[in-house]
Assembly symmetry: C2
Homo-oligomer: 178 residues x 2
């Protein structure tokens, strides 16, 4: 029952500028309108877990981009807009209890999204697959993808794909000592 | 006259553990004894600029690994061991003046090495090529490859090579607006 991260970062590991700006990410030339494998990835998950900040970013998009149930981690949020009824659920708890709850609802393959949420799940060593797309820029500052861990975590490199000769997408799988 | 960085980092961007430990890097299986393209890279440079800490790490190796002149950045260091006479030179100054000095000595293609030294040259936007090899591990803490920059820096992705199905080496070239 893998928990997966699928995220883009700068070469120096930032997912957004300090003010949340991701224009550097949106500005990537994409003449063929590729989704860089995102739909294929989405087909591999049953549900999405994201933090409130990420949810609020996505709300600004012109349309709701997900065709899988989204669970927003928040103790503050009380409701979602009517058009998201049945699509977005509010959930709270620690990473482990959230995974258990979603697994018991038969959501086995989870997409864990959002900077802080990813960090919290990584801290508990609950991420099984990391799919990281490197954008060819040094931001120099911003919101980091990674934060401190208690122990190091070894991964197996499954594959790396290059898109538009500029994006480097690497797929890693956590190696767990049985 | 490109200044190049050639370095290995963890997925989360560390070049060593806090105590300088790079065993996680040395432990990579390498059945064919590949140099992962290092000799080819070394043939592309005329001289190496490194910080004192990196120099002291390299001194611990069983043999001196470089066949190009090495310039160690240090104001404290006064001399080098006799067996390194003619191979290692001590140099001081800011990044720009060092590049000018070496260029005037006909060293045009410089390999800039060592965490702090790389950061100082990046801060001054003096790096033209970044060759970064990602190791499939999250260290969670350690000595970071990158530090804060005043402005973002865009790069062109030249190529990515995979070694032993585990190392991901990406070659980037700085895009400069003329």
């Amino acid at each position: 029952m893998p928990n997966k991260v699928y995220i883009a970062t700068s070469i120096d590991g930032f997912i957004a500028k300090k003010n949340g700006d991701i224009n550097w990410l949106m500005d990537i030339p994409n003449p063929e309108g590729s989704d860089f494998g995102f739909n294929e990835f989405m087909n591999s998950v049953d549900a999405i877990v994201m933090g409130r900040l990420t949810y609020e970013q996505v709300l600004k998009f012109s349309e709701w981009p997900y065709n899988k149930p989204v669970f927003v981690l928040s103790s503050a949020l009380k409701s979602v807009p009517e058009f998201l009824n049945g699509k977005v659920n509010i959930i709270k708890g620690n990473p482990k209890s959230i995974i258990e709850k979603l697994n018991s609802m038969k959501y086995s393959n989870l997409y864990i999204d959002g900077g802080k949420t990813v960090q919290e799940f990584l801290k508990e060593d609950l991420i099984d697959e990391l799919i990281i797309t490197r954008i060819s820029i040094l931001l120099g500052d911003g919101i980091p993808l990674f934060s401190k861990l208690i122990n190091d975590q070894k991964y197996e490199h499954l594959a790396t794909e290059i898109f538009n000769n500029t994006l480097v997408k690497s797929h890693y799988k956590r190696i767990r000592n049985k």
